[in-house]
Symmetry: C2
Subunit: 419 residues, 2 copies
């Protein structure tokens, strides 16, 4: 059985590799037509998709899913309309493939062009969000990659129904779903170096860690973030209040939401009470160091004593760690030590402090007077996003269509020999 | 003991991470001064370096090294002069760090800059070439990265002597050598995700495979190549002869040397005997498919019947597989199936065939009328090379200073909130 499964997954890999060579040479028009076919097919298949989704929802309690997870898993007619619309938006984006990135001539007359090409075959491992299935299929096709999708058992029936639509709309084997939730299939996929060029896990930290530790194929990780907002001595008070609030409460469950506030000692007495009142009014629990707790207590704002682990924590909830720091230098060192290198912001009217912060904070996105929530492919103007890479190789920060591509070098000569 | 070793390697990692944050902010002038100090130190230390190298050479027989390996391990005064010179050349290269790669403004007024920054901490795993120790140290410093070097036991004494010079010349902990050849140290290093951001193995296929399979840190692989030259129907005969010869015999032991010749059936009768005579005269053994063998036999050129494995083999020697193909389409399919995606060339006077070949051959470097040997950082004009990546993510093809870098995004706002 395990052997049959390995054979099956290997055969999926071999077909994906063949498909990827064809896709690399497929025209933009043909790719866009396939995307529009898929969008239309989703619009026309609400009934079977919702029925399949009901099968997964009926099993959700058995899988022990929490309420938020069940919500993410649930399809509705409105969500299906959004899914189809997102596929049409990908069709409307420019094709990243074929762009000449660099072009130079060597003294010996060789002309070298660096050209953007698809990566090849991408394995996407995800948990229980139907939009990941469709988004990844659309983005991989548009960027000329073949994709192998492996979703969790919680979403198996929904995925099989979506996969049928994808298969009918897309070129042969362009996107294949592994047709079993068996874990052994994942083990085979993660070691299929002969056919698969890149693995992208989308899901919780446990899934990503498992994939990173077990894959022999290069992985692009999308860990969540421990994001900081540092309110400098020279911060505009009103801007500090609105930015800290937006970064924390606008959508607390996502990776670019703020988890910690650092405030300069020079303005903590005057500004922290205002920030604390606004945050607690918005339902945020404040876990404070001693200095912050003392200031807030004097101002009558309720706080919780922060434990050591709170100051490196990703809460993904209406909780914020708060510390007082003595300088921008200390803020930078604190963020580089206790943060996760995701998205960190400074609020200040002082350009010198801002430049210092942006130069030395070692994070994918470093913001000056803007919310951490802007680390996002759509907000960057990429038009689509497959995730936010927390790696430093290949892609760092938002991953759009271009980040799903590699490059190759074309060299034109006239008989040059190496000596 | 194993636990002490894990503690030691972890402490090296922690110090490297701290050093990397300082290096990211180090000026170009300070980095160049350190490089020139190292070059001078090598020039001044011939006696102790040669003495240390003698220790390794005396042990080489005990390690079972082949003659070519002993040669690579051997230092001479001339090689030491070259080493120092290569460090001076790195000092003379432009600093890749800080360049603004992209710069745009969003409709909401946010200004986004993509800026080149060092990767962080790079672990280099290599076997027995002293020039790798020095080259990697110099390239990592120039690109603002901290490096942890781990060489093989065959080169241990030489490395320790080189490491002393590096430590004296470079900023604190910028380049650290793991001071033991114990394999357990490597196992710890490959899982030190908290401090190390990238692993680059330099050496034979066995080493690279071991590292790729055991590292939980992203690896950039430098496998060798199964490179093809395809001689098209419209090839200029004299150019075909010189290119095939150059690609095969100019340095047969390296990854960008040709391992296989494909020739179009339309010119095989007329051209293959000429190529075969030139190759055998240069000492090349020809392992042929039936069609090529028959043509060469008629012309009196000695051949060896090719076995199936010869047609996917990397010989790294004066051996060439030879096959006759019926079209450029078959040549492309053959290369994409049996090659390794490294460096493949077409020889033709027909631009249509050349464009078809360059568009569809899925290799890092695809050459038209030029030798496969040009897939090389120096030949590309990069001024230095840490290797030739056979991966598709981050770097593909020659890796110079820019490929040792990542990027970050700096966003400047005026209080923008996400809604």
């Amino acid at each position: 059985m395990a052997e049959d499964l390995a054979t099956l997954v290997t055969s999926i890999g071999r077909r994906a590799r063949a498909a990827s060579l064809a896709l690399a040479a497929t025209t933009t028009a043909a790719k866009n037509e396939a995307l529009l076919r898929l969008a239309d097919a989703i619009d026309a298949a609400h009934a079977p998709l919702l029925a399949a989704n009901q099968v997964d929802l009926a099993a959700a309690a058995g899988h022990g899913l929490a309420k938020a997870q069940v919500d993410r898993l649930t399809l509705t007619p409105e969500r299906l309309r959004q899914l189809a619309e997102s596929v049409r938006q990908v069709a409307a984006l420019p094709d990243p493939v074929g762009e000449v990135l660099e072009n130079w001539v060597r003294p010996n007359g060789l002309r070298i062009r660096k050209v953007r090409v698809p990566i090849g075959v991408i394995g996407i491992i995800f948990e229980a969000r139907p939009n990941v299935t469709i988004d990844c299929a659309a983005l991989c096709l548009k960027s000329g990659n073949a994709a192998i999708l492996r979703g969790g058992k919680e979403i198996f029936a929904t995925n099989m129904a979506l996969a049928r639509l994808i298969e009918q709309a897309f070129p042969k084997d362009a996107v294949q779903l592994i047709p079993t939730p068996d874990r052994a299939a994942l083990d085979t996929l993660l070691k299929l170096n002969a056919y698969v060029h890149c693995i992208i896990p989308r899901g919780g930290e446990g899934l990503i860690r498992f994939v990173a530790e077990n894959s022999t194929i290069p992985v692009i990780k999308h860990f969540n973030g421990v994001c900081f907002v540092y309110v400098d001595q020279a911060a505009d008070p009103a801007m500090a209040e609105s930015l800290v609030l937006n970064a924390k409460v606008q959508r607390p469950s996502v990776c670019n939401a703020a988890e910690q506030l650092l405030i300069h000692a020079g303005v903590a007495e005057s500004l922290l009470p205002r920030l604390g009142r606004a945050l607690t009014k918005a339902g945020v629990e404040l876990r404070c160091d001693r200095a912050a707790a003392a200031i807030l207590a004097k101002a009558g704002v309720a706080t919780v004593p922060g434990q050591p682990q709170d100051f490196t924590a990703e809460f993904l909830d209406l909780v914020l760690a708060v510390r007082v720091v003595d300088s921008v230098t200390t803020a930078i060192a604190t963020i580089n030590r206790d943060g996760s290198g995701h998205s960190d912001a400074i609020v200040t009217a002082d350009p010198v402090a801002a430049h210092h912060f942006q130069a030395e904070v070692d994070s994918a996105v470093v913001l000056w007077n803007a919310s951490t929530r802007f680390n996002d492919g759509f907000e960057f103007g990429y038009g689509a996003e497959i995730g936010i890479s927390t790696d430093r190789l290949h892609a760092r920060g938002p991953m759009g269509l271009r980040e799903l591509c590699s490059h190759k070098f074309l060299i034109d000569g006239s008989g040059q020999l190496r000596s």
